[in-house]
């Protein structure tokens, strides 16, 4: 039994299924707008993409085939400082947001050239408002002395950054509690029943709650829950193995797509892309590949020790882009899913909450309807 729910559940404005980064970002934004919010979360053994998140607040290269996604990522990066400040004010926690730019290291010339072309296309698509530079190996090493010479080069963008995803989740939970949000956790939601006349009943093994609006933010769990609300969430797990080293004094200044040094001094290394179902384990083969690539990029990492490794399950839609959709059959029910819960966190806490509340928003979310996927 959870310590937090000895009071009888009653009405709430918005029920959010899922207490990860997506759910809690939405919850925080809703609380800031004065709504009553209840978050439902599973137990300690639940699959949690948020715990595996790399921590990048990343823009460059995202949305190559979906300009709306590129715009969304860009917007979120712009909104992040305000969200970080708000969380710090509410909780005292500094989530270590650093937006000083990021590098994407390319090991081969072909890859560098292709990436440069892609970014040039995206720049054109964005009407020129998409800053980036293509760096040779020497230029990259001038910017980041820890880089080795056996690289082709890198693409740099001032739009990129990183933060501490665990501190972020921590801060969101603390701010949520501080602002009167209610967390019902420790067991899964069994069923969601739309009520005649509006609203939704959330059914657990020992509790039922009536909410005016309902948001599915349960990651991989959305797939099974969505049809109950006339929604479609074709998400599948995709594993990325992540390695963490021992603590080191700071020596890597910029985050990259594969390597970043955290605020604690540990170096985080990724990643793989594996279809292995719900297996969050690690394999010596992938760990070896990740280690080898990291050493090639940063030779000093050779003698550094791996302390922990895990498999993070990305919540992947067929095209990799988010799903933001209100149920046509049951208005007031929404599904929100993406695999970039950190980057999009500020959009989730801001404009997306406006969307949930039926307010006018500047961005268009039509491209993110799940109708784009065949049933």
């Amino acid at each position: 039994m959870s310590v937090r729910n000895h009071d009888n559940p009653g009405e709430t404005d918005v029920a959010i299924i899922g207490g990860g980064l997506v759910g809690m970002s939405l919850a925080y934004g809703l609380l800031r707008q004065g709504k009553r919010v209840t978050v439902f979360d599973e137990g300690d053994q639940a699959l949690r993409a948020s715990r595996g998140n790399f921590g990048l607040v990343w823009v460059q290269g995202k949305g190559d085939t979906c300009p709306e996604y590129a715009r969304l990522s860009r917007l979120s990066a712009r909104l992040w400082p305000e969200l970080a400040a708000s969380l710090q004010q509410d909780t005292g926690i500094d989530i270590e947001l650093r937006q000083q730019g990021g590098l994407y290291i390319c090991l081969e010339q072909d890859a560098l050239r292709q990436r440069a072309e892609m970014l040039a296309r995206m720049q054109q698509q964005a009407g020129g408002d998409y800053p980036f530079e293509v760096l040779s190996a020497a230029q990259a090493r001038a910017k980041e002395p820890a880089l080795g010479s056996d690289i082709a080069g890198a693409t740099w963008s001032p739009m990129d950054g990183h933060l501490n995803p665990l501190l972020l989740l921590n801060a969101l939970h603390q701010a949520f509690a501080a602002r009167g949000g209610r967390l019902i956790n420790g067991r899964p939601v069994q069923r969601i029943q739309p009520r005649r006349g509006g609203g939704f009943d959330v059914q657990l093994s020992d509790t039922r709650l009536w909410a005016n609006q309902l948001v599915l933010a349960a990651g991989l769990g959305n797939k099974a829950l969505a049809p109950q609300l006339g929604l479609h969430a074709p998400v599948e797990p995709n594993r990325g193995q992540v390695l963490i080293t021992e603590r080191l004094r700071p020596f890597i200044s910029y985050p990259t797509g594969h390597v970043r040094q955290t605020g604690e001094g540990t170096v985080q290394l990724g990643d793989s892309k594996e279809d292995v179902g719900l297996d969050t384990g690690t394999t010596a083969e992938e760990i070896g590949k990740i280690a080898a690539r990291a050493i090639r990029m940063y030779p000093a990492l050779e003698k550094v020790r791996l302390i922990r490794a895990w498999g993070a399950l990305r919540v992947m839609t067929p095209d990799g882009y988010p799903i933001y959709q209100q149920s046509a059959q049951y208005p007031g029910a929404y599904v929100v899913t993406c695999h970039s819960g950190v980057t999009l966190g500020a959009v989730h806490a801001g404009p997306l909450v406006d969307w949930l509340l039926g307010k006018d928003i500047d961005i268009s979310l039509e491209a993110f309807s799940a109708d784009r996927f065949p049933l």
């Binding site: 310590v3 604690e264 020790r305």
Partner: protein, 466 residues
């Protein structure tokens, strides 16, 4: 890739006995051990004990020689200074020796990695000058070194008494032995006296230790509580505080040895994904095994204290049982032959196991070590206190993995070896449930920190072979 019938991890009593038994049946055997010489911890340095005076450690230690001789004579591939960092369900064994990582393939695996001392936090336990009793015993065995004096010992359990005696016989000036065994335990343990009497030989031996300790003149205080270690400006231990007979007392010392029993070392068994069950008597998790030591993962066995605390003699017997079952499974022995060999072993094991409940209940740690005060450091690596953990449990963390994500507890190099049990207990207390319900960290390989170079170069040496 090198293949073996049986790969044994650990060269303590269970490992050595199993290796000798398996080799005798004609199996191809590899024994991988982290230490430079066989013996595990209980028989540490048995092949070259440091002390000239054999009277200090006592006969039980030198019994290890009876395991060593057949082990050295057996046809096994013994790899010392070798760290096993991963074992897969397909029975691949990944190891690291001399900075190089490689994989072996096994038809059967026996984990004989033994026990560790129960991490029993109290305020100041992390101070330089505080060590475990086991650590002092290891230093006696490998190096003939004794801790600084005046020495204070504090804790509960047979090992505490034994080590106090050994150090006394070694000439160390012991200022006090502070026994923290709670009063209630004696009454509770009485309910298991029947089992204790079946193990009367061990009971007598234990009573003998107690008597010798009393006669030794070493000051022994019982029912000690509120243990605290304090430092001066140097940050090193200078004083031990405690409560005895209702009064606050303190001892000035730079040297404190602590002990609160032993628990199975489950790092490797957890990483493999073996099923573990909470043992309410031993207050720890133990891997689930059948009567031969086989786990729920086919072909993977556990013998010795790693399967549940039973002591050194039980460990060597369990090693033999596992080896014979493996031999039967691999067609080297008929079931009848196996049972014929096993029968006297099981008879010998019976009293050793019968006394366990009595000992487990008698020496159950006092509450202050299972659920330490808020200001106590629980995760030594990431410096997280008991108060921090209770706070996150109240915030909504339902188990150790969420608590880990929020507080960093368990994220350091020891991978939860020193904090896992305490974290589970604290969360259970705060959420009004049990450690069995709360669960343990998700442990993943590599279970020891390897360098990235080693990981990147896995099996490179083997690939270069023609």
């Amino acid at each position: 890739m090198k293949q073996y019938d049986l790969v044994i991890v650990g060269a303590g009593p269970a490992g050595m006995a199993a290796a000798s038994a398996a080799a005798e049946q004609g199996l191809t055997v590899a024994v991988l051990d982290e230490q430079a010489a066989p013996g595990g911890q209980i028989y540490r340095a048995i092949s070259a004990p440091a002390l000239r005076d054999e009277g200090i450690l006592g006969a039980d230690y030198y019994h290890g020689r009876s395991l060593l001789a057949p082990f050295k004579a057996a046809r096994v591939d013994y790899m010392a200074s070798t760290t096993v960092w991963e074992i897969t369900g397909a029975r691949e064994v990944r190891l690291s020796v001399q900075g190089r990582a490689r994989t072996l393939q096994a038809r059967r695996i026996l984990l004989a990695t033994g026990a560790q001392e129960r991490p029993a936090p109290f305020p100041g336990w992390q101070l330089p000058g505080v060590m475990s009793c086991g650590a002092a015993q290891i230093m006696l065995k490998t190096s003939g070194l004794t801790p600084p004096t005046p020495l204070v010992l504090a804790g509960s359990g047979p090992l505490l008494l034994l080590i106090a005696l050994q150090l006394h016989w070694a000439g160390v000036t012991i200022a006090a032995v502070l026994d923290t065994t709670p009063k209630e335990n004696y009454l509770e343990a009485g309910r298991h006296l029947g089992g204790a009497l079946r193990g009367w030989k061990m009971l007598l031996k234990g009573l003998g230790y107690l008597a010798k300790l009393k006669r030794s003149g070493v000051p022994c205080l019982s029912r000690v509580g509120d243990l605290r270690a304090e430092a001066d400006d140097s940050g090193k231990l200078t004083r031990v505080r405690f409560r005895h007979k209702g009064r606050e007392q303190s001892l000035d010392t730079n040297s404190l040895l602590v002990h609160q029993g032993v628990v199975p070392n489950v790092q490797l068994s957890r990483a493999i994904g073996i099923d573990h069950r909470w043992d309410e008597l031993q207050l720890c998790w133990r891997p689930a095994t059948d009567a031969w030591g086989e786990t729920d993962i086919e072909g993977i066995f556990i013998a010795g204290d790693g399967a549940g605390i039973g002591g050194a003699v039980a460990a060597e017997q369990a090693g033999r049982l596992a080896a014979w079952q493996v031999a039967r499974q691999l067609g080297r022995m008929s079931p009848n032959e196996r049972d014929r060999l096993a029968a006297p072993v099981r008879r010998a094991l019976a009293p050793v196991l019968a006394i366990r409940p009595f000992l487990d209940v008698l020496y159950r740690p006092a509450g202050e070590f299972l659920r330490p005060a808020d200001d106590t450091l629980v995760c030594r690596c990431e410096e997280v206190t008991a108060g921090d953990i209770r706070r996150y449990a109240r915030l909504g963390c339902t188990g150790p993995n969420q608590t880990k994500a929020f507080s960093r507890v368990g994220m350091g190099p020891c991978q939860g070896r020193m904090c896992g049990l305490t974290v589970a207990q604290l969360i259970a207390d705060t959420r009004q449930t049990t450690p069995a319900e709360v669960g343990y960290y998700r442990i993943r390989s590599p279970i020891k920190p390897l360098t990235l170079k080693e990981l990147a170069g896995l099996d490179d040496a083997d690939r270069k072979q023609p």
